[in-house]
């Protein structure tokens, strides 16, 4: 094998380039649409029922003069999910700050706590009511799942919160929060990026954001060009996946009807007795699963190198 072919990079060989290409395509969709939106193009977003409930929930809490409780999920460290949740909570806190409504934000993770503390303080400052901000309203509770659950339920019951927001990564504890809040009649808006927890939120909460409605939330609430543009980019990508599925399914359906006498394993074609075509013989399957031929490349050995296992003798 000529060296020029060898050096294209392991991950690009055979159909390996396809995955990289798709990733870059999605990134391009997002970035292009952010540009479009920044350029002043007005982009449409459909109504999302759960999000209209946010204002209603805070309104009710203000009427009752009771706190609003927020939990940005149980992420192990700070990630986009937690950031997105805190961003939505910044919107909630802004309204709460205007009406001088007390808030409580319970964090599972110290990094999320740091981020939330900074963000929420900023919100109060930019509203010009920095004196209303109590740093203890954003608090770290525990970073053990069920201790956190016990702590937050205790808080919900003692503070008699009027509205609760559970947005982010939730696992088994989702139902503990939701039912506890339900038992004191709090209005609840919830969402979990873990699909397996969504049914429990549906059963126990007033409004539920399903799946990536959660990611759409900040764009929907604020209409910031960057967010709206990114949302449109995501939609383009979704549409692309839909088309790929429809096209691929039809292609596979017809390809698989035939028979084959050759087979490709580890990137090498070989003749075999005639048999029915299998899924792995189809064009799409070959495109998705790169098959790498074994290539030997000779390189000089590092003189300082001590092979594993020999050192211990």
């Amino acid at each position: 094998m000529p060296l020029s072919e060898v050096y294209i990079g392991e991950q690009y060989r055979d159909s390996g380039w396809f995955g990289v290409f798709m990733t870059l395509l999605v990134a391009a969709f997002v970035l292009v649409n952010i540009r479009r939106a920044r350029g002043g193009k007005d982009l449409y977003i459909r109504r999302i029922a759960g999000l209209n409930a946010i204002d209603e929930a805070i309104g009710r809490a203000t009427e009752m003069g009771k706190p609003v409780l927020m939990v940005p999920g149980l992420s192990d460290t700070i990630n986009a999910i937690a950031v997105q949740a805190v961003n939505i909570f910044a919107y909630v806190s802004r309204i709460a700050a205007r009406f001088a409504n007390p808030i409580l934000l319970c964090c599972y993770n110290a990094a999320v706590y740091t981020y939330a503390q900074e963000t929420i303080r900023d919100v109060y400052q930019s509203e010009g009511v920095a004196d209303r901000y109590d740093p203890d309203s954003v608090r770290f509770v525990s970073d053990r799942q069920f201790a956190f659950a016990a702590g937050v339920s205790g808080l919900i019951l003692r503070e008699q919160t009027a509205a609760t927001f559970f947005l982010g990564e939730f696992y088994a504890e989702s139902l503990i929060f939701a039912e506890t809040a339900n038992s004191i009649g709090a209005i609840q808006v919830a969402s979990s990026t873990e699909t397996t927890q969504t049914p429990f939120f549906i059963a126990a909460c007033d409004y539920v954001l399903i799946g990536d409605e959660f990611y759409a939330a900040s764009a929907y609430l604020t209409r910031q060009p960057v967010l709206v543009g990114s949302l449109v980019g995501q939609d383009w990508s979704k549409l692309m996946i839909i088309l790929m599925i429809v096209f691929g399914t039809i292609l596979n359906t017809f390809e698989i009807q035939g028979k084959t006498t050759s087979e490709r394993t580890k990137g090498v074609w070989s003749q075999i007795p005639e048999r029915n075509k299998k899924q792995s013989d189809t064009f799409m399957s070959q495109l998705f699963k790169p098959q790498l031929e074994k290539v030997k490349v000779e390189r000089p050995i590092d003189p300082n190198y001590v092979p594993e296992g020999e050192a211990a003798k």
């Binding site: 460290t77 740091t114 053990r144 201790a147 205790g154 049914p199 409605e213 979704k238 399914t249 399957s285």
Partner: protein
């Protein structure tokens, strides 16, 4: 005594089901305290010691293990960690964004790296043939007592029932996905229909998830009850009282 403490703590936490009370509050705070304490212990013994300290200062040679060198650059992480503590400063709180920015940057970069690894194979697995390759039988015939050749022959065919299931599967994925399109104004009735169907199909999925989860949750409750009644009361307290 250890078991008794466990039982009392369990009952204490259960008491919240009745209403919030002092007993629950006591155990809630014990729980939070122990958890925080344990986190402090595990932070060093399980995370920082092996992943940071040992790498920074190296380890000495021991029987059967060679020494490792220390990489002093790890010390740079201390000031970066300290930057987080500026969050309480009114003037310099922006500095706390640096460590957070690093963590977020690392996370984001990884998303780019893993996206296709995670979802590519799933897209591939969705591309199932939706027309049967044989009409010999509408459903998969029984495989009882077939020779291996006959079996592989049966397995290489797509039967009508499988094709229907595959169609339903693909339809569910596509309609659910189209339900989550936010930025297209839907006017056509057909697309609206698909979106509504997407929502209904989602509900079947959610129902099934709910059902599967119930088993686990109940099992854990049964385990607690076993712990209280059998392990503690029957095998622990009872023999003690009856002096056996």
């Amino acid at each position: 005594m250890r078991i008794t403490a466990g039982v009392i703590a369990t009952i204490g936490l259960y008491s919240v089901l009745w209403k919030e009370n002092k007993f629950y509050r006591f155990f809630e705070h014990v729980f939070l305290g122990l958890a925080a304490g344990w986190t402090m212990v595990a932070l060093w013994t399980e995370t920082l010691k092996a992943n940071w300290w040992d790498k920074m200062v190296g380890t000495p040679a021991e029987t059967g293990a060679a020494a490792t060198n220390g990489m002093f650059a790890y010390a740079l992480l201390i000031p970066f960690g300290l930057m987080g503590y500026f969050v309480f400063s009114k003037k310099h709180n922006w500095i706390s964004r640096i460590p957070i920015g690093i963590i977020l940057g690392l996370w984001s970069g990884q998303q780019v790296q893993v996206w296709w690894n995670t979802y590519g194979p799933q897209i591939d697995a969705t591309l199932k043939p939706i027309l049967p390759t044989t009409w010999d039988s509408l459903i998969v015939p029984s495989t009882n007592g077939l020779t291996p050749e006959q079996l592989s022959q049966v397995q290489s065919q797509i039967y009508f029932s499988q094709a229907v299931n595959n169609f339903l599967f693909t339809l569910t994925v596509v309609s659910v996905l189209s339900y989550f399109l936010f930025s297209f104004e839907v006017k056509s009735k057909a697309v609206k229909g698909i979106n509504t169907m997407g929502r209904y199909l989602l509900m079947i999925g959610f129902g099934a998830i709910f059902g599967s989860t119930v088993m686990m949750r109940f099992t854990l409750l049964i385990d607690r009850m076993h712990f209280i009644w059998i392990e503690w009361l029957r095998d622990g307290v009872f023999p003690m009282i009856s002096g056996r």
